[in-house]
């Protein structure tokens, strides 16, 4: 059976998202939408000393790709400092997903990262837009 982007790990994260829910009195809470699919993701962070992320949670709805990617990202950043998180780019998300993401679905895959960066740093635009690889492209 050709599963394409929908490998078991992706489906597992989409069906049983890790780190799903809310943080009590979060230090950072931010939400954004992907107008193409109507995907929505909110990320909430609790910060400790030195800007270390003590707790990271997300809520949202939308396609499997957006929800799995957001879940994997939020799971991965717990315990990291905001400075470390700042280094996360498009390629790290693609590595986390471990599957080829088609051009059309790139915004789904990157929604979580966009929310995280906008929430944590007020960085606008799509992740990587200030990089050479900014223009829509495929990972295949």
């Amino acid at each position: 059976m050709d599963r394409g982007m929908y490998q078991e790990t992706i489906m597992d994260y989409a069906r049983h998202p890790r780190n799903f829910g809310h943080v009590d009195s979060p230090d950072i809470s931010y939400e954004d939408h992907n107008p193409l699919c109507g995907d929505q993701v909110r990320i909430e962070l609790k910060l400790g000393a030195g800007g270390r992320i003590e707790q990271a949670r997300f809520t949202g709805r939308g396609c499997a790709i957006s929800q799995a990617a957001a879940s994997m990202l939020v799971e991965m950043i717990e315990g990291k400092t905001l400075d470390e998180v700042k280094q996360i780019g498009r390629q790290e998300i693609l590595d986390l997903l471990g599957i080829p993401i088609s051009m059309a679905r790139m915004k789904c895959a990157m929604l979580g990262l966009k929310v995280l960066k906008a929430g944590a740093y007020g960085m606008g635009g799509w992740p990587g837009e200030d990089e050479d690889e900014a223009w829509p492209t495929t990972s295949r």
Binding site: M1, D2, R3, G4, M5, Y6, M11, R15, L36, C37, G38, G62, C63, A64, I65, S102, A104, R105, C108
Partner: protein, 413 residues
């Protein structure tokens, strides 16, 4: 397999569309997104090639042979297009880039001249953004009000609302002929008759009707009809606006510049005659010529036969899609249904579904179809949409149904 009574020899005409002969992800391309843009027959592709190889030149300018040839072919395409929708004269057939530009032309020209504070523009809840957003901008600029004919649960317009909506304040009714999302064929002739009774002008968005049904602007008695060439097997970048002559004559130009002028002084100018008053700048001549060839192709097959073929495909597809567990279908069940089927599959986001179908070589559209208010009306953020055209086969519908079962497997249902 479906025994089709259609007069279309689909197998033969498919051979005219070279793009259909290809594998996508190792599977035959099943193109079910003609409502977004249609494929082109060899004759249209050849016409574009011929234009650029043999007589590419600016039109309405040169007195040399190839420019005259380009001008003649472009104006011949205008005549074909006017005949295709039964316009009384080619002077009423304006080339635009697409439906959106045609509607913007009416909003900017007729709208600015005729809509004032307190006036009402009546639309429907099922309009494509292209027949909604230009009117929002005009209403905001002029202090006018927008009103909407509601849509019922089956995807039909609730025409009884016209009893209260149509007052003497209504200056314009802008309505889609066929919904690009629900497939509903709206009773536009009746809406036009009732709108005219209160003195309103009616614009029909024909983006989804002109390519798929016989459309006769004189029988409809519409004041404007907008459509796109690329949805009717013509090239991208060219579309049309039909307008009632008396209105077009009184309207100011849309864009200003070359071609649309008669005389130009340093401080003022006068305008060209119809239709060129509305065609500023160098037109996409090759595309217009290609659209003329597309009209030849459609006319050769017959719009009634195309309509019948699509109707049979819808009748074939609806029960088979409905039989897939978890499928919800949107839009009316009846003869007022064009070859557009929007659906959702429980537990699978339409974009995930479209990605899985893509791996099977099947091209469908997923999203809000530029109808966000309509999506909101049904409490949806997105649907998947399969749309048919003259080259679509029942076997392709079967492939879609099989792929939906496959998608459920991938999602563990």
């Amino acid at each position: 397999m479906l025994e089709t009574s259609s007069r279309l020899d689909v197998a033969r005409l498919r051979a005219d569309f070279p793009i259909l002969r290809q594998l996508v992800h190792g599977k035959p391309l099943v193109f079910l997104d003609s409502a977004a843009s249609s494929q082109k027959p060899e004759s249209v592709i050849r016409a574009l090639d011929e234009y650029y190889r043999e007589y590419n030149a600016n039109v309405h300018r040169g007195v040399y042979q190839i420019s005259e040839r380009a001008t003649a072919r472009m104006e011949e395409a205008r005549v074909k297009l006017a005949r295709f929708i039964n316009a009384p004269s080619p002077r009423q057939m304006i080339f635009t880039r697409n439906t959106t530009e045609a509607i913007n032309l009416v909003a900017a020209s007729w709208g600015r001249q005729n809509i004032g504070p307190g006036d009402v523009i009546v639309l429907t809840e099922m309009e494509h953004h292209s027949n909604l957003v230009p009117w929002q901008a005009l209403a905001q600029e002029k202090g006018a009000r927008l009103e909407f004919i509601p849509v019922d649960d089956d995807g039909r317009l609730q025409l009884e609302a016209l009893d209260t909506l149509l007052t003497e304040r209504v200056k314009l009714v802008a309505v889609t002929h066929v919904s690009n999302t629900l497939g509903t064929i709206n009773p536009v002739a009746e809406i036009i008759r009732r709108a005219h009774a209160v003195g309103a002008v009616v614009l029909v968005d024909g983006a989804q009707s002109v390519p798929h049904l016989p459309v006769d602007v004189q029988a409809l008695d519409c004041d404007f009809l907008a459509f796109s060439g690329h949805k009717m097997i013509g090239p991208m970048g060219v579309g049309g606006l039909y307008g009632r002559r008396s209105l077009l004559e009184r309207m100011p130009p849309f864009l200003y510049g070359g071609s649309m002028i008669r005389t130009v002084g340093l401080r003022e100018s006068t305008w060209n005659e119809l239709p060129w008053k509305f065609e500023a700048g160098t037109p996409s001549a090759g595309d217009a010529i290609g659209l003329g060839v597309a009209v030849d192709y459609l006319t050769g097959i017959g719009m009634a036969a195309i309509r019948q073929h699509e109707q049979e495909l819808v009748e074939y597809a609806l029960p088979r899609l409905a039989a897939v567990p978890g499928v919800t279908l949107y839009g009316p069940r009846g003869e007022d249904r064009a070859g557009v089927i929007s659906f959702t599959l429980d537990g699978i986001h339409p974009h995930d579904l479209a990605s899985i179908l893509d791996r099977e070589g099947i091209a469908v559209r997923a999203g809000h179809h530029c109808c966000q208010p309509l999506m909101a009306r049904y409490g949806l953020v997105a649907t998947a949409r399969a749309s048919f055209y003259l080259y679509t086969t029942p076997e392709e519908v079967d492939a879609l149904v099989a792929a939906l079962h496959h998608a459920r497997e991938v999602f563990g249902m």
